[in-house]
């Protein structure tokens, strides 16, 4: 079973919700995950943020859903850390 352990997203979002409300809203949808947001660039109405999400099994689709519901859009996946489970040995 393949699990996403860490993902770094480049996201364009409106100023509102602010960084704290934005990450809190995402964290509510992905229990057990650790989220870090860094503002990379600011514009008049928007800001580009770097979102780092870490966890045992990061639910990517739930994250994209909540980001778009908050008015944000994912520009790129900048880094990803994926792990496959231990190899199952077939009984002889």
């Amino acid at each position: 079973m393949v699990h996403i352990k860490r993902i770094v997203l480049d996201v364009l979002k409106p100023h509102n919700p602010n960084a704290l409300d934005f990450t809190t809203a995402i964290a509510e949808k992905v229990p057990g995950c650790r989220i870090r947001l860094t503002v990379a660039a600011m514009d008049e109405k928007t800001e580009t943020v770097l979102l780092i999400i870490e966890g045992e099994n990061v639910p990517y689709s739930a994250i994209t859903e909540v980001i778009s519901s908050l008015g944000g859009s994912i520009h790129s996946i900048d880094e990803v850390d994926v792990e496959n489970g231990p190899v199952e040995t077939e009984p002889a």
Binding site: L12, N16, P17, D21, K45, S68, S69, L70, G71, S73
Partner: protein, 195 residues
Amino acid sequence: MASMIAELTRLLTLTRSHVIARRYFVVNGFDGALTMLGLLVGFYVSDEARLPVVINACLGVAIALGMSGVSSAYISEVAEKQRELRELEKAMVADLGQSAHARAARLLPVFIAGVNGVAPLAIALVILMPLYAAPLFEPLSLHPLVSAFGLALIMIFLLGVYLGRISHTFWLWAGLRTLLIAAATTGLIFTLSPG
């Protein structure tokens, strides 16, 4: 119901519209209170107005203020929120139709219009209570118009106190300032009234 209130609170916070709703409440509430005060003083100066006439006239004005508040705020807020959404969509280069911002643009004008309409209507109805309850005031030999006038002053003072709390100024001074406006209005009506 609880989830609807939570959603409304979230959208108000997201768009910072709670400030607009609060401003509408104070502005139109003050409008309602001062209009009722003016009508009551006008009827008091006229001397011969019967109570049912006073009640019907005041009620008519209160309802008109409420309807005017709802319709004017709705029309202007829909236009403002739609413009804000279009500008945000332009900046994001994306369709935000499914986002919380689009939900806010649809729902908040209704809420703000409600606040703008209910504020003057509710305050006016509170001020009119002594007129409805006139038989109860008879044993106290209180003139219903004077009682309603007193209640109007109290409501205007409370709105001032509320404004004082918002602006973090001394509540008594803020309340007295709005009372001063009420006193000036009353004085003007007495001065300009032909008698």
